[in-house]
Amino acid sequence: MADEALLKVQGVETYYGNIRALAGVDVEVHKGEIVSLIGANGAGKSTLMMTICGSPQARTGQVIFDGEDITKVPTHLIARRRIAQSPEGRRIFPRMTVLENLQMGANLDNLKYFKEDVEKIFTLFPRLKERQSQRGGTLSGGEQQMLSIGRALMARPKLLLLDEPSLGLAPLIVKGIFEAIKKLNQEEGLTVFLVEQNAFAALRLSDRAYVMVNGKVTMTGSGRELLANPEVRAAYLEGGRH
């Protein structure tokens, strides 16, 4: 594990109007790690992802990326520091083609690496290649998810934020996406911070993980530790099975 944290979230509180969504969150992501964040609906996981990107900005606390305080930096400038996000709800541009959506991801470099990078994405998700001239809005949920991740990767991120990459996907595709993440992490040293409902898969994939409840981090540890932790098992792994 690298000693210098790539991303450091310290005592962050985020509000929607008067409602406090994050109640003092501390999270660290080191270079080359895969870190996951698990928790129930409404725990504030997606809010944390968006707060890292400055939309909304944290009211108190700090977000430090690569040694610099980005808490009050506008969203588009945070993106230009190479934090890419595949956000909740995928947020594909519905009236742009698949290729144009990917071009949007590559805008930071003015499409300089577009050709080689897009080939990588197409190898990763061959479905996107078949659909490249189709409009984003006409894709199935799974295809949109692939496109959303692909678009984020096109930015050549230092830190990739994935919000529920498995949501609404068939198990086989989920497996494929998780393998792709692992591969990018191992081969290219991509740092990944992901939010997942699918806690089992996320914990197995991750070096470390955080558990979030009601806007607070309640537990942290390596993926294996949390997988073995009885509380985590009861709440997030076996909860639905009875």
Partner: protein, 300 residues
């Protein structure tokens, strides 16, 4: 038949001007969901800027070639109105972003009044004439087509092509479309949303300035309240074509221009506006999103 073709040519000319203005309405609506009611007055400002440039240039240099003259008028008018519209967006609309929906709309109406009154005070309330710049006419049998009309249609076509290219093929256009479709996501991808919106206002104003210059050249007068009726017509064109749709704005503009001239030719000219707005009502009954407009619902 000749009479009909003649009216078609007249309608096309008028329609080109409406189309150029309508694009400004439709683009701004597309990107921030607001009707910029001051856009008609931006068009009027464009005409005045062109007129003033004309007067300045002719008072210093006699015998400037007409083509060069028109070019100078166009360029200066485009720059001036762009600056105006950029400033208006900055001071009057941007602070209200995120406010309730009606607020920028009311401000836009206020801005429209400010602009027309500003011109009325500084330039006087009377019509300002400009000598005929281009007076050549061509006869094809019984049909008369003036060089002015040809210039208007050609300039419009060229600008629309450039414009279409920018919106569809360049990174700037992509950023504009992304901002239009999902502002938050665009920002997450590094698009400077505020700057993109400013550029949209600037582009709309530049096209309106061209329309203003053409209008001035075509009719030979400029007046402080020129922004109102052509502004409303262009707005109607944008709605008729489907607000938010660029080809729709052009199509709507052409349709309104044609209806106006054909109605004036075959029926009473006094009711030409009634015909235009009746058509609008008729289309909206059967196609509430306009001719090329898309329904608001998107698959999520």
């Amino acid at each position: 038949m000749e009479y009909f073709i003649q009216q078609l040519a007249n309608g096309l000319t008028l329609g080109s001007i409406y189309g150029l203005i309508a694009i400004g309405y439709t683009m701004v609506y597309g990107i921030i969901g607001m009707i910029n009611f001051a856009h008609g007055d931006i068009f009027m400002l464009g005409g005045f800027a062109a007129l003033i440039v004309f007067l300045i240039v002719t008072s210093f240099f006699a015998g400037v070639p007409v083509a060069l003259m028109l070019l100078i008028m166009l360029v200066v008018a485009m720059l001036m109105t762009s600056l105006w519209n950029w400033t208006i967006e900055r001071v009057a609309y941007r602070p209200l972003r995120g406010s309730f929906r009606l607020a920028p709309l009311i401000t836009a109406i206020g801005m429209s009044i400010v602009l027309s009154n500003f011109i009325q005070v500084t330039q006087g309330p009377r019509n300002k004439p400009i000598p005929a710049l281009v007076s050549d006419v061509y006869h094809f049998g019984a049909i008369t087509i003036s060089l002015k009309q040809i210039i208007i249609v050609v300039v419009t076509a060229v600008l629309l092509t450039i414009f279409w290219y920018i919106v569809n093929k360049t990174p700037l256009g992509r950023a504009q479309r992304a901002t239009e479709q999902d502002r938050k996501m665009a920002a997450l991808l590094g698009v400077d949303v505020d700057r993109t919106i400013s550029i949209t206002f600037v582009m709309g104003a530049a096209l309106a300035a061209v329309a203003g210059t053409m209008y001035l050249m075509y009719y030979g007068v400029a007046s402080f309240n020129d922004g109102f009726i052509p502004g409303v017509k262009a707005f109607t064109a944008a709605v008729l074509g489907g607000i938010g749709s660029l080809p729709g704005a052009v199509l709507g503009g052409l349709l309104i221009g044609l209806i106006e001239s054909l109605w004036s030719a075959y029926f009473t000219i006094a009711y030409k506006d009634v015909a235009t707005f009746a058509l609008l009502a008729f289309v909206l009954i059967f196609k509430p999103t306009g001719i090329l407009g898309r329904p608001e619902v998107e698959k999520v």
